[in-house]
Amino acid sequence: MEKTQLKNWQKMTPVGRLFHTLGIFILKRRFGQLIALFLRTVASLFDKSHNFKSDSRNIILQTFFTGVEILIPLFVVATLFGTVVIIEVLSLMGKMGFSDIVGTLMVVVIIRELSPILTAFLIAGRTGSSLTTYIGGMVIDSEVDALATMGINPIRYLVMPSVIGGTIATIIMNIIFSASAIGGGFLVTKGIIFITGNAPNLQITWSYLSTEITKALTIPDFVFAIVKPLVFGIIITINACYQALNIKRDIRQVPKATSRSVISSFLYIVFADVVLSLYYFISYMQNLSTII
């Protein structure tokens, strides 16, 4: 067996051997394994043995698990952040006389950057960690092995529903975050003005805020409001599942894997955000060149 293996190695052409080494080099790295796991998750969607009923039930359960329980902290965070942003932007811009870019600033700060990132952080802390513990516990109890020996693909049964459910929930939560940051933030600002007797000296009405924001919104904003949470949701869930499935049979590895999953999710999210925001940088550059 060994000898034939060696012969197969030698049979490879130099180019084939180069690609083989390159493939093994990439697959040995964590990033390559993450991408491989994602591709296998996508491939598992087209498995021959599929049960639509149980799959959709798992996906809906995961969506609710990710979405519903995070709703209240997310709503509070969004409202408070929205309030802070509205008050600061209004007072600062009013003083400097740039009140016509209030809408643009709100869109840039809340809808483009803050909302996807904070939603992703909250979901990574909440769903990512619990996914890692859940699947990690299954690995320790060799339930994943049992699934595989029953002919049930663990990637399809465990990873695929979490990825799809988690991503759907992240997209919905992102929209809720943006809406409650602007709507809730406006209401809280009004409340502050009412309570303090307009001590901050702000003039704000709903029609002013909404027209400014709708004026500033562009089509790429709507696209990125879907694309960013989509990418972040995939990163969070795939990373959580990867860390969990990577646990060697040792119960002490579960908390380590959990913290690793959350921290590395944060890192990957920020990196992905920078990469996705390159689109805006490039469009700014083009705008500048047309102006000049």
Partner: protein, 277 residues
């Protein structure tokens, strides 16, 4: 060739495979790493050159001291661990090591009862037994219900059908696990310590069931056990894992009377009793 259920030919297994199956990492990576590691160091080899042939409908028990890789052999056969070298034939069909995964083996109707029952902890007992049947769409919902009820009746777990695994004792979990494997109609069943954690009454109930399975359904069974009396009660051959190899299969009485090192280790107390009885 046609009448054999399983054949191992000169199988080598690395100790690295014991740390669990990495479903997150493509298997090629660990495979090449293991080959490198075991070539440099012989201590990495857990099993070196094991041979085994199992006929259709035959039952075999694997014994031996603990910590020597008995369960690892079952994991190897179930496809959870991958051999470094050697050939494994399932029902006369060779699966190369590159394609030897648990899913591939499970397609050939090989069932595995793990040492800790490994029931899915968020499903009730009924759903646990029905899970593989539903996933593979083996029949309509009525047929599945019928099959699940039959399996539960056989293993006497019908009263606990609506319970969660953590509410059951270890012995009952094991019975549910055996019912789950049985419901899938395996042609080859691997059992890791089926009687550990069972009381004497249930142990005595389990053995006729295993006997029924091999006579009625022509299931080939491999049992890894410390309880060597199973081999006598089921009247099947015993194989020992000795010096990283599997010995020839022989009957319980042969081992009892033989003069080899294994018999001295494993049958000492039985040998001292047997002349009197």
């Amino acid at each position: 060739m046609l009448d054999e259920a399983l054949r191992l030919e000169d199988v080598y297994l690395s100790t690295n495979e014991l740390s669990g199956t990495m479903f997150s990492i493509p298997r090629a990576v660990s495979y090449f790493e293991n080959i490198k590691a075991s070539e440099s160091n012989k201590d990495y080899q857990l099993i070196a050159g094991a041979n085994l042939t199992l006929k259709l409908g035959e039952t075999i028990c694997i014994g031996g001291p603990s910590g020597k890789g008995k369960s690892a052999i079952l994991r190897l056969i179930a496809g959870l661990a991958r051999p470094l070298k050697g050939h494994i034939y399932y029902f006369g069909e060779y699966i190369p090591a590159e394609r030897l995964t648990a899913l591939e083996v499970a397609k050939r109707q090989v069932g595995f009862v793990l040492q800790n029952a490994a029931l899915i902890s968020n499903l009730r007992v009924v759903d646990n037994i029905a899970l593989p049947l539903r996933y593979h769409k083996m029949g309509t919902e009525d047929e599945i219900t019928k099959k699940v009820n039959m399996a539960m009746d056989l293993m006497r777990v019908r009263d606990f059908a609506k319970m969660f695994p953590h509410e059951l004792s270890v012995g009952m979990q094991k019975r549910v696990a055996i019912a789950r494997s049985w419901a899938m109609d395996p042609k080859l069943l691997l059992m890791d310590e089926p009687t550990a954690g069972l009381d004497n009454y249930n142990r005595r109930n389990l053995l006729p069931l295993i006997d029924n399975m091999r006579t009625m359904f022509k299931t080939s069974i491999i049992i890894v056990t410390h309880d060597l009396m199973i081999a006598k009660e089921l009247d099947c051959n015993l194989v020992f894992l000795h010096q990283k190899k599997l010995t020839e299969p022989h009957s319980f009485d042969y081992w009892l009377r033989s003069d080899s090192e294994i018999s001295k280790d494993q049958f000492r107390d039985l040998q001292s009793v047997s002349p009197n009885t």
